[in-house]
């Protein structure tokens, strides 16, 4: 778990809010029509956002992955 991290590709995000709605820990929010990882420390890496994002813009990767 410790080596996992939530990543967001802002260029692909369209701010639809699906990930925000499905996140069980309210980690995400929409700011200026884009998703923002507001509380990364609360993320449990369940993968709901990655599963439901229509734009492949959010995903669980390693901590060392490109941001």
């Amino acid at each position: 778990m410790a080596d996992k991290a939530l990543h967001l590709n802002k260029k692909w995000c369209k701010g639809c809010g699906v990930c925000v709605g499905f996140c069980p820990k309210q980690v995400l929010k929409i700011e200026d029509n884009k998703c923002v990882i507001a509380y990364p420390e609360k993320c449990i890496h369940c993968g709901q956002c990655e599963l439901r994002c229509p734009d492949n813009a959010i995903y669980i990767g390693g901590r060392s992955d490109e941001q």
């Binding site: 590709n9 369209k14 809010g17 699906v18 229509p54 492949n56």
Partner: protein, 274 residues
């Protein structure tokens, strides 16, 4: 590349972000299709993805397989040609509701009747999105579209019943919310040797959702979550399936496949030295 490994391996990432509106269910359904292909471990060079015209038909342009974007309603006709030319290929056809059941309706029923080994996936968003929200053959009775300003007076097709009635040997329905079910159905559909039909109920927050006050993308997903019942549950307890959208595997009944039957005839005549 700032994306997960599935996206990196199976998408043309230089083409992303895709053209679909914010919250469009097509992106989620397409991911389910891609995950199914990944899980089956198919050789990318042996996969062909064919589409017609419409929102859904933009899908192959983003995928790193052999892809073909054809004319409106004719994806199955082109796909039939591809399968006949090289029966070893896995031919996957992605169509929309208008593409598959209006202008392409005849291709659909005859491809199903022949039982040619194509995996047909329909992204059904209940409307013609790309051209501005006209009602389609799957727009529910009474619902609104730009061409049904007083409510749609036509009854919609049940695409799965249509495909099954026409002879499809594998039929299932998933939704943009039930994405894991969708993946499982597509996996089984690809493995079925014959005509397979999977309907993916999509969401169109821009036209269908807005015209019918269905809320935003999350609310439209929630509608599917609360109003869909698996066919196995509904068969055990019909009360649970009452006034609900049925999802799951509807039909699986292998029959002789078209290109194989054709090969039998070729082999028979070659054996005779004709």
């Amino acid at each position: 590349m700032n994306c997960n490994s599935t996206t990196k391996n199976y998408y043309r990432t230089e083409k992303l972000p895709h053209i679909w509106c914010p919250g469009c269910g097509h992106g989620t359904l397409l991911n389910a299709v891609v995950r199914a292909i990944e899980k089956l471990g198919l050789n990318k060079d042996e996969v062909v993805v064919v589409s017609g015209i419409g929102c859904s038909s933009r899908a192959p342009g983003y995928l790193d397989f052999n892809t073909l974007h054809t004319t409106h309603g004719r994806a199955l006709a082109f796909a039939t040609g591809i399968k006949f030319a090289n029966p070893k290929l896995h031919v996957i056809v992605i169509m929309g509701d208008g593409d598959s059941s209006a202008i392409g309706g005849n291709h659909l029923i005859h491809a199903a009747r022949r039982n040619i080994d194509l995996t047909t996936i329909v992204f059904n968003n209940n409307i013609y999105g790309m051209t501005g929200g006209q009602y389609s053959p799957t727009t529910p009775y009474g619902d609104f579209a730009t061409t049904s300003a007083y409510g749609n007076i036509e009854k919609p097709f049940d695409l799965c019943s249509l495909a099954q009635g026409a002879g499809s040997t594998y039929v299932g329905r998933g939704t943009a919310y039930h994405t894991r079910l969708m993946q499982n159905l597509v996996e089984k559909a690809i493995q079925n040797k014959g005509f397979s039909f999977v309907e993916g109920l999509s969401i169109c927050p821009t036209y269908y959702g807005r015209k019918n006050k269905k809320g935003d993308a999350f609310e439209m997903h929630t509608f599917y979550k609360e109003n869909c019942v698996d066919i196995k549950v509904a068969e055990k307890d019909p009360e649970k399936g009452k006034n609900k959208i049925l999802i799951g595997e509807f039909h699986s009944c292998p029959k002789p496949e078209y290109t194989e039957s054709y090969q039998v005839i070729i082999d028979r005549f070659q054996g005779m030295g004709v």
